[in-house]
């Protein structure tokens, strides 16, 4: 692990077959709802509130899409890590 200050955002690729569908979005929203400050998901120039399933769905992330997960408060590093892990792990599908 790097010793430098971890970044406030992480770029990840959607790997699960079905992309960010309702169930996977619900898993992200569940984590994001526990954050101290806002958590955002960015796809290109579109941005969604990670605590809203609907907002995540409107990003239309298919398999292979690159997204950036962004937090606003350092206290939410664990949430950033957990969401990253969830996405990279294909939501356990």
């Amino acid at each position: 692990m790097s010793r430098s200050q971890p970044a406030l955002s992480r770029e990840v690729t959607i790997v699960n077959e079905l992309g960010l569908h309702a169930r996977s979005a619900a898993k992200i929203a569940r984590l994001a709802n526990r954050s101290k400050a806002s958590v955002w998901i960015q796809k290109g120039d579109q941005k969604a509130d990670a605590s809203s399933i609907v907002d995540i769905l409107t990003l239309a992330c298919e398999k292979g899409t690159k997204i950036t997960i962004r937090i606003e408060n350092k206290a939410d590093f664990n949430i950033l890590a957990a969401i990253t892990e969830l996405v990279e792990g294909g939501f356990g599908e």
Binding site: G19, A22, A26, I53, D55, T58, I79, A81, A82, G90
Partner: protein, 587 residues
């Protein structure tokens, strides 16, 4: 010709194959489409918001009741829980309340406006699966709307005859209330192949045509209809000639299906008479029927994680036992290989470890997790031993990486058996025990681990990941994930040789086992059993029947001389290309 003028033929999307002819049963949603708009006085706005919140709460309670009432429908329960979360979603719930306040309008109108805007966004999407997810949002909004306007829902639980269900769209909540034995087919206005209705129909193996747009407008309850799920055609009030034609087609199709099935139900015997068990991997008890239909000789891998997800507590022993018993009883005398919990931090309940593990693949998962949580482990082992009293059961321990772990696992299994003895509950301890071989250290120590088990089952997905140090989810290196890498083949060969020497059985349950062009190699190595996704079973059986095991053994000698994955693949293609032609060039 006058009477035939009534016949209407409409085309939709063929979501599930098969043909059925029968009476229509219309599931309508009247009263929801017409939404009134009226102005709310400023001083009444907070009451209007309250009315909306109450409707959401009622919708939530309704959903919760359905979730609680449908323990058998695990797949539904999952979708329903997503719906529960959607009910309180900012973009739906929050925006509707904002709209009521900002525009001083009634809640029905505000909700409809918010949902219409969302649907527009979804309609611009190109991915069909994601596009269809707007259906989830619409269904959730509908259930709130029902509670706002107070329309009564059609009670589909009360259907008491064999019918063809006709609906605009079926929500998971609705389908979970249907007595599915009464349904011979589905027709819906909305939806595509990946819709919920399509999934249910395919798992029940009954025909479905979806995306018909206005079927509900042209069909009345009790109309005679023909559903052709092969071509996506629906014929309403068919004329006699069509009725006769489709009766014949229906018989033809059923015969064709019977041939395919009977062929796949026959054992897989090689050209020189060697029999190989071709098994299926399952995750849900509901998958058992499809597995048997595809001709599975048993369950080579029953993943048990599902019952542990998305809940606040661990499932209790009885709950687990009932599920395992269902599967074991239906499959008997065919074997059911139950893999003990292969959970890792991020999948575990409450996500209590998720944020802390930087490297979950190398972290606290599977047997490591179970040995750290002996009570959780023991509950599951007791449930398995009890189910074993009802049919042919095996236990498979995942992710064994040391001899110590398999010793501990068997010790706790013995304790579980002793405690059942004390409690006077029926159980069966005399069952086969296996170790998953998916960590390189277990490959090296296979001869030692073999002393404690009756079989090995090679999990190729993880073995390849760990042996080649490749994370398949990382696109920079994903192409290096090569089942045919000589290192992997030598490992497989080693494990199989040890198994033979120690006189225990050798199985494989990873994706490698379900890939036709790997089969000559796996036969040559001497696998006793292969387990795969149920739908690939017929194909793998077909490949096995066309091979000669004696030939594959000498072929293996050539394979072991190869130095790269590419040359191994070329060798397979050159030797067995004719048999495997379809797969090699399409895949």
């Amino acid at each position: 010709m006058e009477t035939e003028a009534q016949e209407i033929i409409i085309k939709g999307i063929n979501a599930s194959p098969g043909i059925c002819i029968g009476k229509a049963y219309l599931v309508d949603r009247q009263g929801v489409e017409v939404v009134p708009k009226y102005r709310i006085q400023d001083k009444e706005l907070s009451n209007e918001v309250k009315r909306f919140k109450a409707a959401v709460k009622n919708a939530k309670d309704e959903l919760r009741k359905i979730v609680e009432k449908s323990p058998e429908e695990l797949q539904h329960a999952h979708i329903l829980e997503t719906h529960m979360a959607l009910l309180k979603d900012k973009m739906l719930y929050g925006r509707t309340i904002e709209t009521v306040k900002q525009e001083s309008v009634n809640a029905e109108w505000a909700l409809k406006k918010v949902v219409s805007n969302l649907i527009e966004v979804f309609q611009t999407m190109t991915d069909p699966y994601l596009k269809e997810r707007s259906a989830d949002v619409v269904q959730v909004a509908d259930s709130i709307m029902h509670n706002l306007v107070g329309t009564k829902k059609v009670n589909i639980a009360a259907i008491d005859k064999r019918v063809i269900l006709v609906a605009q769209d079926l929500t998971p909540a609705e389908t979970s209330q249907i007595n599915l034995e009464r349904v011979m087919g589905f027709i819906t206005d909305r939806g595509g192949k990946a819709s919920h209705t399509g999934i249910i129909a395919r798992s029940l193996e009954i025909p479905a045509v979806v995306g018909l747009k206005n079927a509900t407008a042209s069909i009345r309850s009790d109309d005679l209809i023909i559903v052709d799920g092969n071509s996506g055609t629906v014929i309403i009030r068919p004329a006699e000639d069509n009725l006769v034609r489709y009766e014949e087609r229906k018989i033809d199709y059923e015969e064709y299906k019977a041939v395919i099935t009977s062929e796949s139900k026959a054992p897989a015997e090689s050209a020189d008479g060697v029999r190989l068990a071709v098994m299926g991997n399952i995750e849900l008890p509901e998958e058992v029927f499809a597995l048997l239909n595809y001709g599975g000789d048993g369950i080579g891998l029953y993943r048990t994680e599902f019952q542990y997800f998305n809940r606040a507590d661990f499932p209790d022993e009885d709950e687990l036992f009932n599920k395992y018993k269902d599967v074991v009883e239906v499959m008997h005398p065919k074997p059911v290989t139950i893999r003990t919990l292969d959970i890792n931090g991020d999948k575990a309940l409450n996500n209590q470890f998720s944020a802390e593990e930087a490297n979950p693949a190398l972290g606290l998962r599977a047997i490591r997790y179970c040995l750290k949580k002996p009570q959780v482990f023991k509950d599951q082992l007791r449930a398995i031993l009890r189910a074993a009293a009802f049919g042919n059961t095996r236990i498979l321990f995942p992710m064994i990486s040391t001899y110590f772990e398999i010793c501990e696992a068997t010790r706790i299994l013995d304790e579980a058996a002793e405690s059942l003895e004390k409690d006077g509950l029926p159980y069966n301890r005399d069952i086969e025990i296996g170790a998953m071989i998916e960590v390189p250290s277990a490959v090296i120590m296979a001869d030692v681990i073999a002393e404690n088990v009756d079989f090995f089952s090679i999990g190729t997905n993880d073995l390849i990941q760990y042996a080649l140090a490749i994370d398949r989810g990382n696109e920079q290196v994903a192409h290096l994930f090569q089942p045919l890498d000589p290192a992997i083949i030598r490992m497989l060969k080693h494990v199989a040789d040890v198994a033979r020497e120690k006189d225990i059985k050798i199985f494989m349950c990873g994706e490698m086992a379900g890939t036709p062009h790997h089969i000559p190699l796996l036969l040559g190595i001497g696998m006793d059993e292969l387990s795969m996704n149920p739908q690939t079973i017929p194909d793998i059986k077909r490949v096995i029947r066309s091979l000669n095991v004696a030939d594959t053994r000498s072929f293996m000698k050539e394979v072991l001389k190869q130095t790269t994955a590419k040359s191994t693949f070329e060798l397979i293609k050159d030797t067995y290309g004719d048999i495997l032609a379809e797969q090699l060039y399409s895949g």
